[in-house]
């Protein structure tokens, strides 16, 4: 599904990502962990085209997407959620999803029809699926933090992605919100046959759903393997897990 080969990126001499390779198989749930500043978000930005790598390759579903712009990568079937919630704050929840569907179906060039008439049924269905049907008329910026994250997931799903990248999907959530969000993620990934690649600092979350874990440390891949292997790895325990488990 996704192959990352020797990805490099530095900012003014500082090596943010230094030669990271990672394979993600179809329908696999993969977590990228590492302490703050390990390069997780930069790594994501390199995959989704928000940043251009200095060298290395990103191959998605057999196609080389290295350096392609975000909107094109999105259209190839990659969805993404962001670390800071990334919704359209002044639009209603319904309009957020509807707008994303319009964009995905390439209707944005239509400047003469009424936008509110499009994809009403699909929007409604997606809202039910992410559990926000009761908030359809709410202005998105006024939603609770957990609900905003749900909505963001909904926006990411409008493009019917095969691979979903989630940057700290439970950051800032309460324990209950985290639990609900994980349930939702697992259910949706199962229903839609999604491949998930996510970053996370909460180890409970990681070990709860990840099938494979990659550990980033100072821009380099320290180790990768199953949750069990990572728990047992002395190097990983030293730099990262030691403090939390």
């Amino acid at each position: 599904m996704l192959e990352v080969r020797e990805l490099h990126k530095s900012f003014a001499g500082f090596v943010a990502v230094g030669g990271v390779s990672l394979d993600v198989a179809d329908r696999q749930i993969v977590a990228v962990i590492g302490p703050n500043g390990a390069g997780k978000t930069t790594f994501f930005n390199l995959i989704t085209g928000h940043l251009r790598p200095d060298s290395g390759r990103v191959i998605f579903a057999g196609r080389d997407i290295t350096g392609a712009p975000p909107h094109r990568i999105c259209r190839m079937g990659m969805g993404r959620s962001f670390q800071r919630t990334n919704i359209f704050a002044k639009l209603t929840v319904f309009e957020n999803i509807q707008a994303a569907l319009l964009a995905h179906h390439g209707r944005g060039r239509n400047f003469w029809s009424r936008s509110e008439d499009f994809y009403r049924v699909e929007t409604e269905e997606l809202l039910v699926s992410i559990g926000l049907q009761d908030e359809a008329r709410t202005v998105a910026g006024t939603l609770s933090y957990g609900n905003q994250k749900q909505l963001e997931l909904g926006i990411a799903l409008t493009s019917d992605p095969r691979l979903l990248l989630l940057d700290e999907p439970t950051a800032g959530m309460s324990a209950t919100e985290t639990h609900d969000a994980l349930r939702l993620l697992e259910r949706i990934a199962g229903e839609r046959g999604l491949t998930l690649l996510f970053t996370e600092h909460d180890m409970e979350v990681v070990f709860a759903i990840a099938e494979k874990i990659a550990v980033l440390h100072q821009g380099r891949l320290l180790a990768q393997g199953t949750p069990g292997e990572m728990r047992a790895d002395p190097e990983v325990r030293r730099v990262y897990l030691g403090a939390t488990t």
Binding site: P69, R80, F88, A99, S115
Partner: protein, 327 residues
């Protein structure tokens, strides 16, 4: 209550009230109404960038000016009739917006604003110095009215002066232009622009080519500003370099903010308020900018959503009070 109020055809009522000015108002009233009508189109065209797409342009007057000059030059130097010169003014402004916008949308926020200002100052410098074509500081005086003899055939218009007839023509053309802009804002294209306004980073990752959409909005806004400019040139009987001076860009931003840039009808309300205030205040004092500044300060603190935002908030508060009494 709100339902019955919102069902009233407000746009039609305002249009008919504006259209009646030549019959019931003085010549001066008609002058003010013409000014408001043209400024309304100019302000709405700016708001497609400001309120809808989230792009702060400090140089929108450039496209207004290009429209005015294209019309003036076609009319005076080549005698092109209104039916062709008027659309040409819009197309000319849109073309210039395409060229300058291509560079502007490559920058963000304040850098975008500065580059739009730079382009408008370039237009101003050309208007001011290129004597052979633009008339330099003399401008292009005595732009004739288009031939409006045909309006005699419309009942009730037979006795109207050419100026009053041109005002009516302006009103109809602006109404059509606003209807088109309204439709664009409500379309899927308009919806994409609002997602870019709210969050350009996210908009890119729902599959939008953000720069291309921003450029398209820039071109449409420029084209309609050009139409407003052409009308203004005829309305003021001449095209002058002053029209392209940056202060007018500031004025149209004030109109949009004063009226409420989150609402389609905010900028026209702001245009009407500013023209009316200007006229009222200059009757009493020469310190108009001081009074305007103070008024703006108060308005922006009391009504952060502009005049229209203030009315909307007031109406919904009233509704809650009434609903509270009923319950």
């Amino acid at each position: 209550m709100r339902r019955s109020a919102s069902r009233l055809p407000w746009t039609l009522i305002v249009f008919l009230a504006m259209a009646s000015v030549p019959w019931i108002g003085s010549r001066y009233d008609a002058f003010l109404a013409g000014q408001i009508t043209i400024d309304a189109l100019f302000a709405v065209s700016l708001n497609l960038l400001l309120g809808t797409t989230g792009l702060v342009s400090f140089g929108h007057v450039a496209y207004f000016g290009v429209g005015a000059y294209v019309y003036g030059i076609l009319m005076k130097a080549y005698g092109v009739p209104f039916v062709f010169a008027f659309p040409a003014a819009g197309l000319g402004a849109a073309l210039f917006a395409a060229i300058s916008g291509y560079f502007c949308v490559r920058l963000i926020k304040l850098y975008f604003a500065m580059l739009t200002l730079a382009f408008s100052q370039i237009v101003w410098a050309i208007a001011y110095k290129w004597n052979a074509v633009t008339g330099g500081d003399q401008g292009l005086p005595e732009i004739p009215y288009p031939d409006l003899g045909w309006m005699s055939a419309i009942p009730g218009c037979g006795d109207l002066s050419t100026g009053a007839r041109f005002y009516l023509l302006t009103l109809v053309l602006v109404a059509v232009a606003l209807a088109i802009l309204h439709r664009i804002v409500r379309s899927p294209f308009g919806r994409m622009l609002t997602t870019i306004r709210d969050n350009p980073e996210r908009a890119a990752f729902i599959g939008l080519n953000v720069r291309a959409y921003q450029l398209a909005a820039f071109i449409v806004a420029g084209g309609f500003a050009g139409l407003a400019g052409a009308l203004y040139g005829i309305f003021s009987r001449g095209v002058f370099a002053d029209y392209v001076f940056w202060a007018k860009s500031a004025e149209v931003i004030i109109m949009a903010i004063l009226g409420g840039m989150d609402y389609f009808w905010g900028p026209p309300v702001g245009a009407a308020a500013l023209v009316w205030l200007n006229q009222q205040v200059t009757d009493y004092t020469q310190y108009w900018p001081f009074v305007l500044g103070s008024l703006l300060l108060i308005l922006l603190f009391v009504f952060p959503g502009g005049l229209v935002g203030g009315v909307v908030a007031g109406v919904s508060r009233l509704q809650r009070i009434i609903a509270g009494r009923d319950a």
